[in-house]
Protein backbone atom coordinates (compact mmCIF):
# COMPACT_ATOMS: atom_id res chain seq x y z
CA UNK A 1 0.00 0.00 0.00
CA UNK A 2 2.75 2.39 1.02
CA UNK A 3 4.58 1.32 -2.10
CA UNK A 4 1.72 2.54 -4.28
CA UNK A 5 1.71 5.87 -2.45
CA UNK A 6 5.40 6.35 -3.19
CA UNK A 7 4.88 5.36 -6.83
CA UNK A 8 2.28 8.10 -7.10
CA UNK A 9 4.68 10.56 -5.49
CA UNK A 10 7.31 9.56 -8.04
CA UNK A 11 4.95 9.95 -10.99
CA UNK A 12 3.82 13.29 -9.59
CA UNK A 13 7.40 14.54 -9.44
CA UNK A 14 8.11 13.38 -12.97
CA UNK A 15 4.89 14.62 -14.48
CA UNK A 16 4.54 17.93 -12.62
CA UNK A 17 6.54 19.88 -15.23
CA UNK A 18 4.36 18.40 -17.99
CA UNK A 19 1.23 19.48 -16.17
CA UNK A 20 2.72 22.94 -15.74
CA UNK A 21 3.02 22.99 -19.52
CA UNK A 22 -0.70 22.44 -19.92
CA UNK A 23 -1.92 25.16 -17.58
CA UNK A 24 -2.05 28.84 -18.29
CA UNK A 25 -1.77 30.60 -21.63
CA UNK A 26 0.16 28.69 -24.22
CA UNK A 27 1.97 29.87 -27.31
CA UNK A 28 0.57 28.60 -30.62
CA UNK A 29 0.90 24.88 -31.20
CA UNK A 30 3.87 23.88 -33.30
CA UNK A 31 2.13 20.92 -34.89
CA UNK A 32 1.62 17.36 -33.71
CA UNK A 33 5.16 15.97 -33.95
CA UNK A 34 6.93 19.08 -32.60
CA UNK A 35 4.49 19.20 -29.69
CA UNK A 36 5.05 15.53 -28.84
CA UNK A 37 8.75 16.24 -29.14
CA UNK A 38 8.56 19.22 -26.79
CA UNK A 39 6.60 17.23 -24.21
CA UNK A 40 9.09 14.36 -24.38
CA UNK A 41 11.92 16.83 -23.92
CA UNK A 42 10.33 18.24 -20.77
CA UNK A 43 9.63 14.75 -19.49
CA UNK A 44 13.20 13.61 -20.13
CA UNK A 45 14.53 16.57 -18.18
CA UNK A 46 12.29 16.09 -15.16
CA UNK A 47 12.94 12.34 -15.11
CA UNK A 48 16.66 13.02 -15.26
CA UNK A 49 16.38 15.24 -12.23
CA UNK A 50 14.27 12.76 -10.28
CA UNK A 51 16.93 10.10 -10.95
CA UNK A 52 19.03 11.85 -8.29
CA UNK A 53 16.28 11.32 -5.75
CA UNK A 54 15.89 7.62 -6.58
CA UNK A 55 19.43 6.80 -5.55
CA UNK A 56 19.43 9.28 -2.70
CA UNK A 57 18.45 6.37 -0.42
CA UNK A 58 15.48 7.93 1.28
CA UNK A 59 14.86 5.16 3.72
CA UNK A 60 11.15 5.64 4.13
CA UNK A 61 10.46 5.84 0.40
CA UNK A 62 12.57 2.83 -0.51
CA UNK A 63 11.60 0.55 2.37
CA UNK A 64 8.33 -0.79 0.89
CA UNK A 65 10.10 -2.01 -2.25
CA UNK A 66 13.56 -2.84 -1.02
CA UNK A 67 16.19 -0.43 -2.21
CA UNK A 68 17.59 -2.94 -4.73
CA UNK A 69 14.42 -2.59 -6.81
CA UNK A 70 14.74 1.19 -6.65
CA UNK A 71 18.31 1.00 -7.95
CA UNK A 72 17.27 -1.27 -10.78
CA UNK A 73 14.31 1.01 -11.48
CA UNK A 74 16.79 3.89 -11.66
CA UNK A 75 18.88 1.84 -14.02
CA UNK A 76 16.07 0.87 -16.42
CA UNK A 77 14.65 4.39 -16.26
CA UNK A 78 18.02 5.59 -17.50
CA UNK A 79 17.35 3.71 -20.73
CA UNK A 80 13.82 5.15 -20.92
CA UNK A 81 15.16 8.68 -20.43
CA UNK A 82 17.83 8.25 -23.07
CA UNK A 83 15.10 7.02 -25.43
CA UNK A 84 12.98 10.11 -24.72
CA UNK A 85 15.97 12.43 -25.08
CA UNK A 86 16.81 10.94 -28.47
CA UNK A 87 13.17 10.91 -29.62
CA UNK A 88 12.95 14.64 -28.80
CA UNK A 89 15.15 15.89 -31.70
CA UNK A 90 14.33 12.93 -33.94
CA UNK A 91 10.63 13.87 -33.99
CA UNK A 92 11.44 17.51 -34.69
CA UNK A 93 13.71 16.60 -37.57
CA UNK A 94 11.18 14.10 -38.89
CA UNK A 95 8.70 16.97 -39.01
CA UNK A 96 11.12 19.43 -40.55
CA UNK A 97 14.38 17.96 -41.89
CA UNK A 98 16.00 21.40 -42.18
CA UNK A 99 16.16 21.49 -38.38
CA UNK A 100 18.87 18.83 -38.54
CA UNK A 101 21.19 21.77 -38.93
CA UNK A 102 20.61 22.61 -35.27
CA UNK A 103 22.61 19.50 -34.38
CA UNK A 104 25.67 21.09 -35.93
CA UNK A 105 27.49 23.08 -33.23
CA UNK A 106 29.18 25.24 -35.89
CA UNK A 107 25.95 26.89 -37.01
CA UNK A 108 23.49 26.22 -34.20
CA UNK A 109 22.90 28.58 -31.27
CA UNK A 110 24.73 27.59 -28.08
CA UNK A 111 21.60 26.35 -26.30
CA UNK A 112 20.97 23.85 -29.09
CA UNK A 113 24.48 22.51 -28.71
CA UNK A 114 23.83 22.31 -24.94
CA UNK A 115 20.90 20.02 -25.71
CA UNK A 116 23.06 17.82 -27.92
CA UNK A 117 25.80 17.66 -25.29
CA UNK A 118 23.26 16.80 -22.61
CA UNK A 119 22.12 13.80 -24.64
CA UNK A 120 25.71 12.75 -25.23
CA UNK A 121 26.38 12.97 -21.48
CA UNK A 122 23.28 10.85 -20.90
CA UNK A 123 24.46 8.23 -23.39
CA UNK A 124 27.88 8.16 -21.73
CA UNK A 125 26.18 7.70 -18.35
CA UNK A 126 24.27 4.74 -19.65
CA UNK A 127 27.23 3.09 -21.36
CA UNK A 128 29.50 3.41 -18.33
CA UNK A 129 26.81 2.01 -16.05
CA UNK A 130 25.53 -0.89 -18.10
CA UNK A 131 29.02 -1.99 -19.13
CA UNK A 132 31.10 -0.76 -16.22
CA UNK A 133 32.70 -4.14 -15.59
CA UNK A 134 33.27 -4.86 -19.26
CA UNK A 135 34.90 -1.46 -19.69
CA UNK A 136 37.08 -2.17 -16.66
CA UNK A 137 36.07 0.99 -14.78
CA UNK A 138 36.74 0.73 -11.03
CA UNK A 139 33.60 1.22 -8.92
CA UNK A 140 34.82 4.30 -7.07
CA UNK A 141 36.00 6.09 -10.21
CA UNK A 142 32.72 5.15 -11.88
CA UNK A 143 30.74 6.75 -9.05
CA UNK A 144 32.59 10.05 -9.36
CA UNK A 145 32.18 10.03 -13.16
CA UNK A 146 28.53 9.03 -12.83
CA UNK A 147 27.74 11.96 -10.55
CA UNK A 148 29.69 14.39 -12.73
CA UNK A 149 28.04 13.25 -15.96
CA UNK A 150 24.61 13.27 -14.35
CA UNK A 151 24.97 16.84 -13.10
CA UNK A 152 26.36 17.91 -16.49
CA UNK A 153 23.45 16.28 -18.33
CA UNK A 154 20.84 18.06 -16.20
CA UNK A 155 22.58 21.45 -16.27
CA UNK A 156 23.08 21.31 -20.04
CA UNK A 157 19.44 20.37 -20.49
CA UNK A 158 18.44 23.35 -18.33
CA UNK A 159 20.61 25.65 -20.47
CA UNK A 160 18.86 24.19 -23.50
CA UNK A 161 15.44 24.87 -21.97
CA UNK A 162 16.36 28.43 -20.96
CA UNK A 163 17.54 29.10 -24.49
CA UNK A 164 14.62 27.54 -26.36
CA UNK A 165 11.94 28.96 -24.07
CA UNK A 166 8.89 28.59 -26.26
CA UNK A 167 6.62 26.53 -24.00
CA UNK A 168 8.45 27.80 -20.94
CA UNK A 169 8.50 31.41 -22.06
CA UNK A 170 5.90 33.14 -19.90
CA UNK A 171 7.50 34.78 -16.85
CA UNK A 172 5.79 32.68 -14.24
CA UNK A 173 6.52 29.45 -16.09
CA UNK A 174 10.14 30.44 -16.20
CA UNK A 175 10.00 31.16 -12.51
CA UNK A 176 8.41 27.79 -11.91
CA UNK A 177 11.05 26.02 -13.94
CA UNK A 178 13.74 27.77 -12.00
CA UNK A 179 12.04 26.73 -8.77
CA UNK A 180 11.92 23.13 -9.97
CA UNK A 181 15.59 23.27 -10.91
CA UNK A 182 16.41 24.80 -7.54
CA UNK A 183 14.55 22.02 -5.72
CA UNK A 184 16.71 19.47 -7.55
CA UNK A 185 19.84 21.29 -6.49
CA UNK A 186 18.62 21.40 -2.88
CA UNK A 187 17.90 17.66 -2.98
CA UNK A 188 21.33 16.94 -4.42
CA UNK A 189 22.89 19.14 -1.76
CA UNK A 190 21.03 17.28 0.94
CA UNK A 191 22.22 13.93 -0.33
CA UNK A 192 25.83 14.92 -0.90
CA UNK A 193 26.35 17.27 2.06
CA UNK A 194 23.75 17.00 4.80
CA UNK A 195 23.57 13.24 4.92
CA UNK A 196 27.35 12.65 4.88
CA UNK A 197 27.58 15.23 7.64
CA UNK A 198 25.00 13.32 9.69
CA UNK A 199 26.91 10.08 9.10
CA UNK A 200 30.13 11.72 10.17
CA UNK A 201 28.59 12.56 13.49
CA UNK A 202 27.88 8.87 14.13
CA UNK A 203 31.18 7.11 13.50
CA UNK A 204 31.98 3.48 14.15
CA UNK A 205 35.27 1.84 15.17
CA UNK A 206 36.63 -1.39 13.81
CA UNK A 207 36.91 -3.76 16.77
CA UNK A 208 37.84 -6.92 14.95
CA UNK A 209 38.85 -8.32 11.58
CA UNK A 210 38.56 -12.10 11.39
CA UNK A 211 39.52 -14.30 8.49
CA UNK A 212 36.84 -16.80 7.50
CA UNK A 213 36.91 -19.84 5.28
CA UNK A 214 36.80 -19.10 1.56
CA UNK A 215 38.83 -15.85 1.45
CA UNK A 216 36.20 -13.99 3.42
CA UNK A 217 36.67 -11.50 6.23
CA UNK A 218 34.32 -10.64 9.04
CA UNK A 219 34.57 -7.03 10.05
CA UNK A 220 33.19 -6.16 13.49
CA UNK A 221 32.28 -2.54 14.23
CA UNK A 222 31.08 -0.76 17.34
CA UNK A 223 29.47 2.67 17.56
CA UNK A 224 31.80 5.38 18.80
CA UNK A 225 29.98 7.78 21.11
CA UNK A 226 26.42 6.95 20.13
CA UNK A 227 23.90 4.14 20.54
CA UNK A 228 24.30 2.53 17.12
CA UNK A 229 21.48 1.38 14.88
CA UNK A 230 18.79 -1.23 14.63
CA UNK A 231 18.18 -3.41 11.62
CA UNK A 232 16.27 -6.51 10.60
CA UNK A 233 18.28 -9.67 9.94
CA UNK A 234 19.09 -9.85 6.22
CA UNK A 235 19.26 -6.10 5.66
CA UNK A 236 22.38 -4.32 4.48
CA UNK A 237 24.40 -1.14 4.97
CA UNK A 238 26.49 1.23 2.90
CA UNK A 239 29.88 0.98 4.52
CA UNK A 240 32.63 3.59 4.29
CA UNK A 241 36.16 2.57 5.27
CA UNK A 242 39.33 4.65 5.15
CA UNK A 243 37.48 7.65 3.75
CA UNK A 244 35.11 10.28 5.01
CA UNK A 245 31.44 10.12 4.08
CA UNK A 246 31.75 13.10 1.73
CA UNK A 247 34.02 11.17 -0.61
CA UNK A 248 31.28 8.83 -1.86
CA UNK A 249 33.40 5.75 -1.28
CA UNK A 250 30.77 3.65 0.43
CA UNK A 251 30.02 0.09 -0.62
CA UNK A 252 26.89 -1.97 0.07
CA UNK A 253 27.34 -5.00 2.34
CA UNK A 254 24.91 -7.27 4.17
CA UNK A 255 25.01 -7.51 7.91
CA UNK A 256 26.07 -11.02 8.85
CA UNK A 257 25.49 -10.61 12.59
CA UNK A 258 22.17 -10.80 14.38
CA UNK A 259 20.71 -7.43 15.32
CA UNK A 260 20.81 -6.25 18.92
CA UNK A 261 24.33 -7.36 19.89
CA UNK A 262 25.83 -5.89 23.07
CA UNK A 263 27.37 -2.45 22.67
CA UNK A 264 25.67 -1.89 19.33
CA UNK A 265 28.18 -4.18 17.63
CA UNK A 266 27.51 -5.02 14.00
CA UNK A 267 29.36 -7.43 11.71
CA UNK A 268 29.79 -7.68 7.98
CA UNK A 269 31.24 -10.65 6.17
CA UNK A 270 32.88 -9.82 2.90
CA UNK A 271 34.54 -12.00 0.31
CA UNK A 272 37.64 -10.87 -1.54
CA UNK A 273 36.15 -10.28 -4.96
CA UNK A 274 36.83 -6.73 -6.13
CA UNK A 275 39.27 -3.86 -5.62
CA UNK A 276 37.68 -2.74 -2.38
CA UNK A 277 36.98 -6.12 -0.82
CA UNK A 278 40.57 -7.20 -1.42
CA UNK A 279 41.77 -4.49 0.98
CA UNK A 280 39.55 -5.86 3.74
CA UNK A 281 42.22 -8.04 5.36
CA UNK A 282 44.42 -4.98 5.80
CA UNK A 283 41.87 -3.13 7.93
CA UNK A 284 43.08 -2.79 11.51
CA UNK A 285 41.11 -2.53 14.77
CA UNK A 286 40.66 1.09 15.80
CA UNK A 287 40.07 2.39 12.29
CA UNK A 288 37.05 4.60 11.75
CA UNK A 289 34.10 3.40 9.69
CA UNK A 290 30.76 4.90 8.71
CA UNK A 291 27.61 2.83 8.44
CA UNK A 292 24.63 4.12 6.47
CA UNK A 293 21.87 1.65 7.31
CA UNK A 294 19.55 -0.17 7.36
CA UNK A 295 18.42 -0.80 3.81
CA UNK A 296 16.75 -3.64 1.97
CA UNK A 297 13.58 -5.68 2.22
CA UNK A 298 15.31 -9.08 2.26
CA UNK A 299 14.43 -10.13 5.79
CA UNK A 300 12.49 -12.82 7.64
CA UNK A 301 10.97 -10.15 9.88
CA UNK A 302 8.62 -8.87 7.20
CA UNK A 303 6.81 -12.12 6.59
CA UNK A 304 4.51 -14.21 8.68
CA UNK A 305 6.02 -17.60 7.85
CA UNK A 306 5.44 -21.05 9.32
CA UNK A 307 8.97 -22.07 8.38
CA UNK A 308 11.85 -21.13 6.12
CA UNK A 309 13.99 -22.44 3.33
CA UNK A 310 17.28 -20.57 2.88
CA UNK A 311 19.22 -21.06 -0.34
CA UNK A 312 22.76 -19.66 -0.35
CA UNK A 313 25.43 -19.58 -3.03
CA UNK A 314 28.95 -18.64 -1.95
CA UNK A 315 29.20 -15.43 0.06
CA UNK A 316 25.43 -15.05 -0.35
CA UNK A 317 25.43 -16.83 3.00
CA UNK A 318 26.14 -13.50 4.80
CA UNK A 319 22.57 -12.13 5.09
CA UNK A 320 21.21 -15.65 5.67
CA UNK A 321 23.75 -16.03 8.48
CA UNK A 322 22.30 -12.89 10.04
CA UNK A 323 18.86 -14.48 9.83
CA UNK A 324 20.06 -17.82 11.27
CA UNK A 325 21.82 -16.10 14.14
CA UNK A 326 18.79 -13.92 14.85
CA UNK A 327 16.48 -16.96 14.85
CA UNK A 328 18.87 -18.72 17.26
CA UNK A 329 19.08 -15.67 19.55
CA UNK A 330 15.30 -15.56 19.67
CA UNK A 331 15.07 -19.34 20.19
CA UNK A 332 12.63 -19.35 17.32
CA UNK A 333 10.98 -22.79 17.06
CA UNK A 334 10.12 -22.60 13.34
CA UNK A 335 11.86 -25.11 11.06
CA UNK A 336 14.63 -23.92 8.75
CA UNK A 337 16.16 -25.77 5.82
CA UNK A 338 19.47 -24.34 4.58
CA UNK A 339 20.69 -25.35 1.12
CA UNK A 340 24.20 -23.96 0.78
CA UNK A 341 26.13 -24.31 -2.46
CA UNK A 342 29.89 -23.93 -2.56
CA UNK A 343 32.72 -25.22 -4.64
CA UNK A 344 34.71 -26.99 -1.93
CA UNK A 345 33.93 -28.15 1.58
CA UNK A 346 37.06 -26.79 3.23
CA UNK A 347 36.37 -23.29 1.85
CA UNK A 348 32.72 -23.11 2.88
CA UNK A 349 32.31 -19.91 4.89
CA UNK A 350 30.68 -20.34 8.36
CA UNK A 351 30.33 -24.08 7.94
CA UNK A 352 31.31 -24.86 11.59
CA UNK A 353 28.98 -22.25 13.03
CA UNK A 354 26.09 -23.50 10.91
CA UNK A 355 26.76 -27.04 12.18
CA UNK A 356 26.72 -25.77 15.76
CA UNK A 357 23.52 -23.77 15.23
CA UNK A 358 21.73 -27.05 14.63
CA UNK A 359 21.71 -27.60 18.39
CA UNK A 360 19.89 -24.31 18.97
CA UNK A 361 17.51 -24.29 15.99
CA UNK A 362 15.22 -26.67 14.15
CA UNK A 363 17.77 -26.46 11.34
CA UNK A 364 18.48 -28.90 8.55
CA UNK A 365 21.75 -28.09 6.80
CA UNK A 366 22.30 -29.38 3.25
CA UNK A 367 25.68 -28.43 1.79
CA UNK A 368 25.88 -28.85 -1.99
CA UNK A 369 29.45 -29.12 -3.25
CA UNK A 370 30.66 -28.65 -6.77
CA UNK A 371 33.97 -30.34 -6.03
CA UNK A 372 33.22 -32.65 -3.10
CA UNK A 373 35.95 -34.61 -1.30
CA UNK A 374 36.36 -38.29 -2.23
CA UNK A 375 34.43 -39.58 0.78
CA UNK A 376 31.51 -37.09 0.38
CA UNK A 377 28.10 -38.68 0.66
CA UNK A 378 26.06 -35.45 0.56
CA UNK A 379 24.67 -33.48 -2.39
CA UNK A 380 27.06 -32.68 -5.21
CA UNK A 381 27.07 -30.44 -8.25
CA UNK A 382 24.66 -27.53 -8.31
CA UNK A 383 21.33 -27.02 -6.61
CA UNK A 384 19.14 -28.48 -9.33
CA UNK A 385 15.45 -29.23 -9.57
CA UNK A 386 16.22 -32.80 -8.47
CA UNK A 387 18.10 -31.62 -5.38
CA UNK A 388 15.16 -29.38 -4.46
CA UNK A 389 12.68 -32.18 -5.11
CA UNK A 390 14.70 -34.52 -2.89
CA UNK A 391 15.40 -32.08 -0.06
CA UNK A 392 12.45 -29.74 0.27
CA UNK A 393 10.20 -30.67 3.21
CA UNK A 394 6.58 -31.83 2.85
CA UNK A 395 5.32 -28.40 3.93
CA UNK A 396 7.31 -26.81 1.10
CA UNK A 397 4.36 -24.86 -0.25
CA UNK A 398 3.71 -22.94 2.94
CA UNK A 399 7.31 -22.02 3.78
CA UNK A 400 8.99 -18.75 2.88
CA UNK A 401 12.11 -18.98 0.70
CA UNK A 402 15.10 -16.68 0.97
CA UNK A 403 17.60 -16.97 -1.87
CA UNK A 404 20.97 -15.21 -1.92
CA UNK A 405 23.77 -15.94 -4.32
CA UNK A 406 25.17 -14.98 -7.73
CA UNK A 407 22.50 -13.48 -9.94
CA UNK A 408 22.31 -16.40 -12.38
CA UNK A 409 21.87 -18.80 -9.49
CA UNK A 410 19.24 -16.62 -7.82
CA UNK A 411 17.22 -16.47 -11.03
CA UNK A 412 17.49 -20.21 -11.57
CA UNK A 413 16.40 -20.89 -7.98
CA UNK A 414 13.41 -18.57 -8.26
CA UNK A 415 12.33 -20.33 -11.41
CA UNK A 416 12.82 -23.83 -10.01
CA UNK A 417 11.13 -23.12 -6.67
CA UNK A 418 8.23 -21.36 -8.35
CA UNK A 419 8.02 -24.32 -10.72
CA UNK A 420 7.40 -26.60 -7.73
CA UNK A 421 4.22 -24.67 -7.00
CA UNK A 422 5.51 -22.15 -4.44
CA UNK A 423 3.84 -18.77 -5.00
CA UNK A 424 6.22 -15.95 -5.99
CA UNK A 425 5.06 -13.96 -2.97
CA UNK A 426 6.87 -16.50 -0.77
CA UNK A 427 10.16 -16.44 -2.70
CA UNK A 428 12.43 -13.60 -1.62
CA UNK A 429 15.72 -12.49 -3.07
CA UNK A 430 17.82 -9.41 -3.40
CA UNK A 431 19.75 -7.90 -6.28
CA UNK A 432 23.12 -6.95 -4.86
CA UNK A 433 25.14 -6.55 -8.01
CA UNK A 434 23.91 -2.99 -8.45
CA UNK A 435 26.42 -1.68 -10.99
Amino acid sequence: MKGILWLIVYLGLVLAPLVVLLVGPMPPALGFLPDVSAALGFAALSMMAVQFLLTARFRRATAPFGIDIIYYFHRYLGAVILGLAIAHPVLLIADNPSLAELLNPLVAPAHMTAGVLSTIALAALMATSWWRKRLGIPYERWRVAHTGLAIAAVLLALVHLEGVQYYAASPWKRLLWRAIALSWIVAAGYVRLVRPWQLRRRPYRVVGVTGERGDAWTLALEPDGHSGLTFQPGQFAWLTLRANPFQMKEHPFSFSSAPGLAGGRVEFTVKELGDFTRTMGGIRPGEVAYVDAPYGAFTIDRHDASGFVFVAGGIGIAPLMSMLRALAERTDPRPVLLLYAYRRWERMTFREEIESLRSRLDLEFVPVLEEPPADWDGERGWITGEVLERRLPPDRLSRHYFVCGPEAMTQAMERLIHGLGVPLSRIHSELFDLV
Binding site: L15, P27, D35, M47, G66, Y72, V80
Partner: protein, 126 residues
Protein backbone atom coordinates in the same frame (compact mmCIF):
# COMPACT_ATOMS: atom_id res chain seq x y z
CA UNK B 1 12.33 -11.66 -10.63
CA UNK B 2 13.04 -8.45 -8.70
CA UNK B 3 14.86 -7.01 -11.67
CA UNK B 4 11.81 -7.84 -13.77
CA UNK B 5 9.59 -5.87 -11.37
CA UNK B 6 11.97 -2.91 -11.69
CA UNK B 7 11.97 -3.20 -15.48
CA UNK B 8 8.19 -3.37 -15.55
CA UNK B 9 7.90 -0.25 -13.37
CA UNK B 10 10.35 1.63 -15.59
CA UNK B 11 8.59 0.64 -18.81
CA UNK B 12 5.21 1.55 -17.32
CA UNK B 13 6.55 4.95 -16.27
CA UNK B 14 7.90 5.54 -19.78
CA UNK B 15 4.54 4.56 -21.27
CA UNK B 16 2.65 6.96 -18.99
CA UNK B 17 5.01 9.79 -19.90
CA UNK B 18 4.70 9.13 -23.64
CA UNK B 19 0.92 8.92 -23.31
CA UNK B 20 0.86 12.28 -21.55
CA UNK B 21 3.07 13.78 -24.25
CA UNK B 22 0.55 12.60 -26.86
CA UNK B 23 -2.30 14.08 -24.84
CA UNK B 24 -0.41 17.36 -24.69
CA UNK B 25 0.07 17.39 -28.45
CA UNK B 26 -3.52 16.54 -29.34
CA UNK B 27 -5.82 17.81 -26.60
CA UNK B 28 -6.38 21.24 -25.13
CA UNK B 29 -4.71 22.98 -28.06
CA UNK B 30 -7.86 24.29 -29.73
CA UNK B 31 -7.00 27.91 -29.01
CA UNK B 32 -3.80 27.67 -30.96
CA UNK B 33 -5.31 27.71 -34.41
CA UNK B 34 -6.57 31.28 -34.39
CA UNK B 35 -3.22 32.72 -33.54
CA UNK B 36 -1.45 33.10 -36.89
CA UNK B 37 -3.33 35.43 -39.18
CA UNK B 38 -4.14 34.35 -42.69
CA UNK B 39 -1.15 35.53 -44.66
CA UNK B 40 -2.99 36.40 -47.86
CA UNK B 41 -4.98 39.20 -46.22
CA UNK B 42 -2.29 41.74 -46.92
CA UNK B 43 -0.59 40.54 -50.11
CA UNK B 44 0.40 43.97 -51.31
CA UNK B 45 2.48 44.84 -48.27
CA UNK B 46 4.48 41.60 -48.28
CA UNK B 47 6.86 42.75 -51.05
CA UNK B 48 7.40 45.97 -49.12
CA UNK B 49 8.24 43.85 -46.06
CA UNK B 50 10.92 42.02 -48.02
CA UNK B 51 12.44 45.40 -48.93
CA UNK B 52 12.43 46.47 -45.26
CA UNK B 53 14.04 43.13 -44.35
CA UNK B 54 16.85 43.83 -46.81
CA UNK B 55 17.21 47.52 -45.89
CA UNK B 56 17.53 46.75 -42.22
CA UNK B 57 20.07 44.04 -43.05
CA UNK B 58 18.18 41.44 -41.06
CA UNK B 59 20.18 38.80 -42.91
CA UNK B 60 23.22 39.73 -40.84
CA UNK B 61 21.75 37.60 -38.06
CA UNK B 62 18.96 35.65 -39.76
CA UNK B 63 18.52 33.41 -42.75
CA UNK B 64 15.58 32.65 -44.99
CA UNK B 65 15.82 29.62 -47.23
CA UNK B 66 19.47 29.37 -46.42
CA UNK B 67 20.28 32.96 -47.38
CA UNK B 68 21.85 35.02 -44.62
CA UNK B 69 23.21 34.02 -41.22
CA UNK B 70 22.06 30.47 -40.70
CA UNK B 71 22.48 30.70 -36.96
CA UNK B 72 18.97 32.13 -36.53
CA UNK B 73 16.81 30.87 -39.41
CA UNK B 74 13.42 32.49 -39.87
CA UNK B 75 12.02 29.77 -42.11
CA UNK B 76 8.56 28.86 -40.94
CA UNK B 77 8.41 31.63 -38.34
CA UNK B 78 4.92 32.54 -39.55
CA UNK B 79 3.73 29.08 -38.55
CA UNK B 80 5.27 29.30 -35.12
CA UNK B 81 4.54 32.81 -33.94
CA UNK B 82 1.54 35.07 -34.34
CA UNK B 83 1.84 38.59 -35.67
CA UNK B 84 1.86 40.22 -32.27
CA UNK B 85 4.74 38.07 -31.08
CA UNK B 86 6.74 38.64 -34.26
CA UNK B 87 6.21 42.36 -33.77
CA UNK B 88 7.44 42.13 -30.18
CA UNK B 89 10.49 40.18 -31.26
CA UNK B 90 11.35 43.04 -33.60
CA UNK B 91 10.42 46.04 -31.45
CA UNK B 92 11.25 44.84 -27.94
CA UNK B 93 12.85 41.40 -27.98
CA UNK B 94 13.53 41.52 -24.25
CA UNK B 95 9.83 41.29 -23.64
CA UNK B 96 9.92 37.90 -25.31
CA UNK B 97 13.14 36.78 -23.67
CA UNK B 98 14.76 39.03 -21.08
CA UNK B 99 18.16 37.45 -21.55
CA UNK B 100 18.31 37.73 -25.33
CA UNK B 101 21.01 39.87 -26.86
CA UNK B 102 19.07 41.11 -29.87
CA UNK B 103 18.85 44.67 -31.00
CA UNK B 104 15.42 46.36 -30.59
CA UNK B 105 14.21 47.86 -33.89
CA UNK B 106 11.86 50.31 -32.20
CA UNK B 107 12.43 53.26 -34.57
CA UNK B 108 10.96 51.66 -37.71
CA UNK B 109 8.18 53.70 -39.39
CA UNK B 110 4.86 52.01 -38.51
CA UNK B 111 4.11 51.15 -42.14
CA UNK B 112 7.48 49.48 -42.58
CA UNK B 113 7.04 47.53 -39.37
CA UNK B 114 3.61 46.28 -40.48
CA UNK B 115 5.08 45.26 -43.82
CA UNK B 116 7.99 43.46 -42.20
CA UNK B 117 5.64 41.58 -39.86
CA UNK B 118 3.40 40.63 -42.76
CA UNK B 119 6.38 39.43 -44.76
CA UNK B 120 7.61 37.28 -41.85
CA UNK B 121 4.12 35.93 -41.17
CA UNK B 122 3.84 34.48 -44.62
CA UNK B 123 7.01 32.44 -44.07
CA UNK B 124 5.46 29.03 -43.57
CA UNK B 125 7.03 25.62 -43.63
CA UNK B 126 6.69 24.17 -47.10
Amino acid sequence: MRSRIAKLLAVATGAIVVALALVFATAGRGGADEAPQAPDEQPQIVPRGKVVYDEQRCSACHSIEGVGNRRYPLDGVGGKLNGADIRKWIVSPREMNPSVSKRAYDKLPPGDLDALVAYLQQLRQK
